[in-house]
Structure formats: C-alpha cells, structure tokens
C-alpha cells in the first residue's frame, strides 16, 4: 500500500528536482554563452571616459528609478521593489530553504522567524496582484503584454502561495501541499532560462553593456 501524496513528494524531491535543476543550470549557461559568443565589435575610437567603471556603476544605478519615473508609474516601482524584497526574504531566510541551499552549495546562514517570512510572503503576493492590476488597467501595458508575462506572473505567485499553504497546513494534506510547493518551484526553475525571468541573471550583463558603451563615449550614469 502506498500514499500517492508521499510518492509525489518523493518525485518532486528526486527526479523532479533533478530535471528542473538540469534544465535551469543548462539553460542559463546556454543563454549566457550564446550572448557572450556573439561578442562585440572592437571600438576603434579613442575613449572619452572609462567604459569599465561606468559599466559597473550602471549595474547598480539602474536599480534606482530615474527622475520622474516614480511619479509616472508609482505602482510599478513600489510594487516592483516590494515583490523582489518579499520574494527574496521568503526564499533566502526560511529554514527549509537554507537547508536546501546548504546542500546545494555548502553555505548556510541563520534563518528568520515565521512571522517575518509570512509578512514578506504576503507583501510579495499583494505586490504581484497590484502589478497585474496595473497591467490590466493600463490599455498600453495590456496591449504590450504577452503570454510570457502572464506565465511568469503565475509561476512567480505559485511558490509563494503554495509555500504559505504548506507551512500552515492549509488546503489539505501537508504532504501533498509540500509536494505541490516543490513542483511549483521546479516549474519556475524550468521556465527561468527561457522567459523574462532570465533578467535575474542578464540584468547585470545588459546594464554593464549599456553603461560601458555610454561611459566610453564620456556619458556618466
């Protein structure tokens, strides 16, 4: 006699995770190598500024909204920040996640308490809903939205909601909810290299690229 929920959990912890990790790591590498192999044409003009320095600077300065942008799209900015902070606090400071990261790369750090994780999760979920709302409300943004945008939204909110449910034994069997939570995270991992989620890696590359081009020409960011 077996328990299908337990079997699902073991699949998620076993082959499911292996598949997801392989696709994610392989995919990220594929995309990055592809970008770097393309290379850049040599700039023969005499540099008017320090491209490298400006490139590195831009990686960070672009994290701050440019002047006036906050007024134009407050929800996008504020909810954008809150989502990222909430998501990463929940991801990086839950004990169970730290155990996973420790097993993966051998580094561990102290866990946060449940209240903090749950507040972070709630903030991230509310922020995602707000972002979806602005996407729907604004006709321009709605027209610009593609399948990829909605897919990534669903894939981002699912681990948050299912994780909250699993920890608080909501919506049913705790083993099943834990399995679903892991599967939702694995779906996110698989989609990562092939959707806009890849920005979590490429943002640094593209910001550096733009910053260094402009920097060489003497513009400062």
């Amino acid at each position: 006699m077996n328990n299908p929920y337990f079997d699902l959990l073991m699949w998620a912890r076993g082959p499911g995770f292996d598949i997801a990790l392989t696709i994610m790591v392989g995919g990220i590498l594929l995309r990055l190598v592809e970008i770097f192999v393309l290379g850049r044409k040599k700039d023969l003009a005499a540099p008017k500024g320090n491209g490298v320095l400006q490139g590195l600077r831009t990686v960070f300065t672009r994290s701050v909204p440019r002047k006036g942008a906050m007024k134009e799209a407050p929800v996008t900015y504020i909810a954008g920040y809150l989502f990222h902070i909430g998501f990463f606090v929940a991801f990086l400071f839950l004990g169970a996640h730290i155990a996973l990261i420790g097993d993966l790369i051998g580094i561990q750090w102290p866990a946060a308490n449940k209240a903090l994780i749950e507040i972070a999760t709630a903030i991230a979920v509310v922020a995602l809903i707000a972002l979806l709302w602005t996407r729907f409300k604004d006709p321009v943004r709605r027209a610009l939205s593609t399948f990829d945008d909605y897919l990534v939204w669903v894939l981002s909110i699912l681990p948050l909601v299912t994780g909250y449910a699993a920890v608080n034994t909501m919506f049913g069997d705790s083993t099943l909810m834990m399995a679903i939570h892991m599967l939702s995270a694995e779906a996110l991992m698989i989609a990562f290299p092939f959707t806009k989620l890849m920005h979590a890696v490429t943002f640094a590359v593209s910001r550096y690229y733009n910053g260094s081009i402009q920097g060489r020409k003497g513009a400062e960011s």
């Binding site: 392989t22 994610m24 400071f93 155990a99 866990a111 449940k114 705790s174 083993t175």
Partner: protein, 364 residues
C-alpha cells in the same frame, strides 16, 4: 472463548482497582476522540461483553510490534485487555507450536466463523512463498485462509499496514501489505514501527466497545483519532521551528538547547501520529524529545524517504552529477547557438543590399 475470565476478575488478579479501571476508560475515550460522556459505555463494554476471538498472525516481521504491545507497559490494563480478549492464536506468545498451534487456529476459526478478529503484524512475501512459512503454510495462504471468516482485520505495524521495512527498496522478497491482498474485508491499519502500544489497545477497545463502524479511518485506512495530525502540528519543539532556530548537528549548541530537528532530517511535518502527545513508555518521552528526528514510521515507504538525516526540503536524488552534465551541456549548446547566431548575422550582412535616397524616392 466463553470460559475465559471476564475483565473484573482479571483486574482483581492484577491488583487494579475499579477506580483505576474507570480512569483508564476515560483516558481511552479521550484518546479515541470520543466525548467524555461515553466513558461509562466504554467501561461497560469492556467489562461485560463477550470477548471476540482474536487470531494474531505474524508474518515477515521483527516481533517489534508484539514486543511493544506486551512488554513496554506490562503488567497494565492494556495488557489486561489483551488477556481479556480471547487471544486464541499468537505464535510468538503461545506455548504450542507447529501443527498443534495450527489446530488451535483452525478450531478458533471454525467456532467463531464470521465473527473473529484477525490481527496481523508483518508483511507478506509474494516473490517466493517459501520465504516465510509457518508450519509449512505460506504467509499468503494463511492470510487468505484466516481472513475468509474474519469480521475484520487489524493490520498492526507498518509492515502489515504498508509493507514496512521488508518492502523497502529493492524489496527482495516482494513484500506487500495486508490490504494489497485482502480486498473484501474491512481492514484497519495501525501503522508505526512499532505503533504506540496504547494506540493499538485503544483501537481494539473501540472495536470492542462500539464496533467497527465507530472507527473512522483516513485514505490509508488509519483511525482518524490517532492519525489525523502530524507530529509537527503537536511537537513541543515547534516554537523553535517557527523562530527559525535549528540544531545543525547532534551535539551543537542548538541540540543542547532543544531546538528544532528539521535540519537533522526530521520527518515530523509529513508524518501523522500521536507520538508528540501520547508519547511512549507510559507517556515518558518520544524520539524528538530524546533528541532524535522523527523517521516518519507511520507513513508508507518511510524507509525510502530519501535518507533519515536528510531534511525534507533537500533533494533526495543524485542531482550533483546531473548538475555538472547540465553545465557542460549548456555550455556546448550555448557555443553552438552563438555560432548559429553569428552566421545568421554575417549572412544577413552579406545579403544586405544598400539603399540610397534615390532608390527610396523612386519607389514612393
């Protein structure tokens, strides 16, 4: 059997007062998740009713289940209930063996056909009937024979309930649970490796007092009164889990402070049992209290849950090798993809026909 002494006489013989017995019935009643008002009914039923014949079959097992039920509290009222039911066959406990014992089993079956209770501990090997036999009868055959005239079957221990340790990968004997074989009789699973003695006796007491229908079971055939909450739900270390304080090894500061054992592989969050509240050895302690993570022994396939000391959130497979392959594969594909993109780019550049302002004017 009718000539067995009734419970009050046995109580007297064991030096147990009536007050002690009533207290025990009240405890049982609350354990069974029944309202306290039913305690007298439990007492009456246990005292008076004629005791059904019980046949206890032990198959591929370690005798841990029998050890638990007979030794850990003895002599107590739990033990008494076992004396009080008519335990007509239990080849670990009975004096007779071989054919004489089988004759006793057959006689009990015949006499109580359709009414006796079968308790099973141990799994049943299907790969080869010769792997486990009793008086030359294979476990499979004996189970089928005995189950036929049973009112109900109680599968005691994870081996009988789910296959247990013999069923663990690679399952050399082809071990299966009772429910994998018997499908036309009510089966109550009381898993655990071994189950908590008082849980076993409570299930039997409830069966005796209120009948089979009163025992509500979950999808895995486990009585809900004992298997509906996880260890984690009731664990006294839970506040540490919630605070994010974990023991990282068995002898660090966290372990000494009694912090949560999740990172040492505790399966409490996915394990349903009353260990954390009822505890063992007369309510003395339970594994987590003794500093060891829960192994999850009341759940199917607990032996194959990825490693007893691996946290639940940690992958159970061999992902590291795959990860390296992914890095290599990704890099190769990336180079190939990049090369394709480059050639597309250069062929596009080669095919590009320059357009002069004159051309544009001509067309418009």
């Amino acid at each position: 059997m009718a000539d067995k002494p009734l419970l009050p006489e046995l109580m007297k013989a064991h030096g147990i007062s009536r007050r002690g017995f009533l207290k025990y019935c009240a405890t049982l009643t609350s354990m069974m998740a029944l309202p306290p008002i039913l305690a007298p009914k439990v007492a009456m039923a246990l005292e008076g009713a004629s005791r059904p014949s019980v046949i206890w079959l032990s198959f591929q097992e370690c005798t841990g289940c029998t050890e638990a039920i007979t030794r850990s509290y003895a002599p107590t009222i739990e033990d008494l209930i076992f004396n009080a039911i008519s335990l007509d066959y239990h080849h670990t406990l009975q004096a007779a063996s071989g054919e004489a014992a089988e004759a006793a089993r057959e006689a009990a079956m015949e006499e109580n056909w359709g009414n006796y209770l079968v308790i099973v501990d141990g799994s049943i090997p299907l790969a080869n009937p010769g792997f486990s036999t009793i008086a030359g009868i294979s476990n499979l055959e004996m189970l089928k024979q005995t189950a036929e005239g049973a009112a109900a079957i109680v599968a005691v221990g994870s081996c009988a309930a789910f296959g247990g340790i013999p069923h663990a990968d690679p399952n050399p004997t082809g071990a299966v649970s009772v429910a994998d074989i018997i499908t036309d009789k009510p089966i109550i699973n009381v898993p655990g490796c071994p189950p908590i003695p008082v849980v076993m006796t409570s299930v039997l007491a409830q069966f005796l007092a209120f009948g089979l229908d009163s025992i509500e079971v979950d999808d895995l055939g486990r009585p809900k009164a004992f298997y509906s909450e996880t260890i984690h739900d009731r664990c006294y270390r839970r506040p540490f889990y919630d605070k994010g304080l974990f023991a990282e090894s068995f002898d660090d500061e966290g372990a000494r402070e009694g912090w949560c054992l999740y990172k040492l592989g505790c399966k409490g969050p996915t394990t349903k049992s009353v260990c954390a509240t009822v505890k063992w050895n007369d309510g003395t302690s339970f594994p987590i209290q003794a500093g060891h993570p829960c192994l999850g022994c009341t759940e199917p396939d607990f032996w194959d849950n990825g490693g007893f000391y691996k946290p639940l959130s940690v992958p159970a497979g061999d992902y590291r090798k795959l990860g390296l392959a992914a890095v290599a594969g990704g890099a190769v594909l990336g180079v190939a993809g990049g090369a394709i993109a480059r050639s597309v780019k250069s062929s596009a550049a080669a095919k590009h026909e320059p357009v002069t302002p004159d051309d544009l004017e001509k067309k418009s």
